[in-house]
Amino acid sequence: MKEREADWSDWMASALAGDAAAYRRLLSALAPFVRSVVRNRAASYGLASADVEDVVQETLLAIHLKRGTWDERQPVGPWVAAIARNKLIDALRRKGRRVHVPVEDFAEVLPAEAGDDDGLRPGEAEKLISVLKGRQHEVVKSISVDGADIGETAEKLSMSEGAVRVALHRGLAALSQAYRSFRE
């Protein structure tokens, strides 16, 4: 546990300084953790397992967009678990349930189980990428689904790398916003 937290804090600090490799390591390690936190609670609130992965993805986007709220004196695990809890509540509200998820349920941080990292194809997220339009859609699809890097994407789409970065960032923010708008 302690070692894991030390790794996460290191990677988080590097990621905040702009290290993409450390960031990817961190997010890959956090995904099964988030999944176990969400899944652990979801069943008792009647959230389908396909929806679990939506919450996982929404949480990862929120981690990204809100990473400026992480304080380096603060452990990463509880910070992530609290974000996951918020996003789970959002997801349940979208489904029209009024719920109270006690904080204590997340205080006990579960070990991430191996074999959970199946990265299911989620329901809403499938449609989600299609909410992006034009360049944002092309850029996000190229980097996520097609696995190209920034440089390859820039070349393929005849854009500058700077423009690709901007489109990527705005695309991710738009994805997060799309989740939010389901709430209204």
Binding site: A82, N86, R121, S144, H169
Partner: protein, 212 residues
């Protein structure tokens, strides 16, 4: 989109600088202090000379109280804005500020004949206080709420309320320098009421503005 695909896309965006909460809040606090001071200085006449026989302790006490609430509200807001942060220390600070104000009021009642309590509470013009504290808190509230948009609160209304309390405390601190009423009984009633007003506004605006 599979989760690992999403992770690849997010990691590729690592070079975009994170919107850090703490520096934004520090800037908002600096702006707030200047804005509240300029508003107070521009709108109110200087107060009469501090009477050492009456206000040697009472005058500085006003600032001890407003600053205690300000510090507690700042700690509370920062913790509400950060997922997973422990709230207990901020709650202790808030109870501490309330205790300071309550103690000042009790001492004032002890040293003041009960026939004078009403006069001390009512002061010279309480309406000036009720109008000006929220007025001086308006720009601080806007600045602080804007900075707090970088936060990730579990309860947007709760964070808005803490931001309102903080803005109210800043407005009250500026007002206190010009307010001719120095009795803790006046502060305890009218300052508190005015700051509560700002807190309620902060909660209402925050509930909408601070969703993420």
């Amino acid at each position: 989109m599979r989760t690992e695909d999403l992770i690849r896309a997010i990691a590729a965006d690592a070079a975009t600088p994170p919107k850090r909460l703490a520096p934004a809040v520090w800037i908002a606090l600096a702006v707030s202090a200047v804005a509240a001071w300029i508003a107070a200085w521009g709108m109110l006449p200087p107060r009469p000379e501090v009477d050492p026989s009456f206000a040697a302790v009472r005058f500085p006490m006003k600032f001890v109280v407003t600053c205690a609430f300000g510090a507690a509200a700042a700690a509370l807001a920062m913790r509400l804005a950060r997922p997973g942060a422990a709230l207990a220390p901020a709650r202790v600070a808030l109870f501490g500020a309330i205790a300071v104000l309550a103690a000042a009021m009790l001492v004032e009642m002890y040293v003041t004949p009960s026939g004078l309590w009403r006069e001390r509470v009512m002061g010279i013009n309480w309406l000036v206080c009720l109008v000006h504290v929220p007025l001086f808190s308006a720009a601080p509230l806007a600045a602080i709420l804007l900075a707090m948009r970088r936060g990730a609160p579990g309860s947007p209304a709760g964070l808005g309320a803490a931001a309102g309390l903080l803005a109210g405390a800043i407005g009250a601190t500026a007002y206190a320098a010009f307010c001719p009423n120095d009795s803790p009984l006046f502060v305890g009633v009218w300052y508190t009421l005015a700051v509560c007003l700002v807190t309620v506004v902060g909660a209402a605006v925050g509930a909408r503005l601070l969703r993420w």
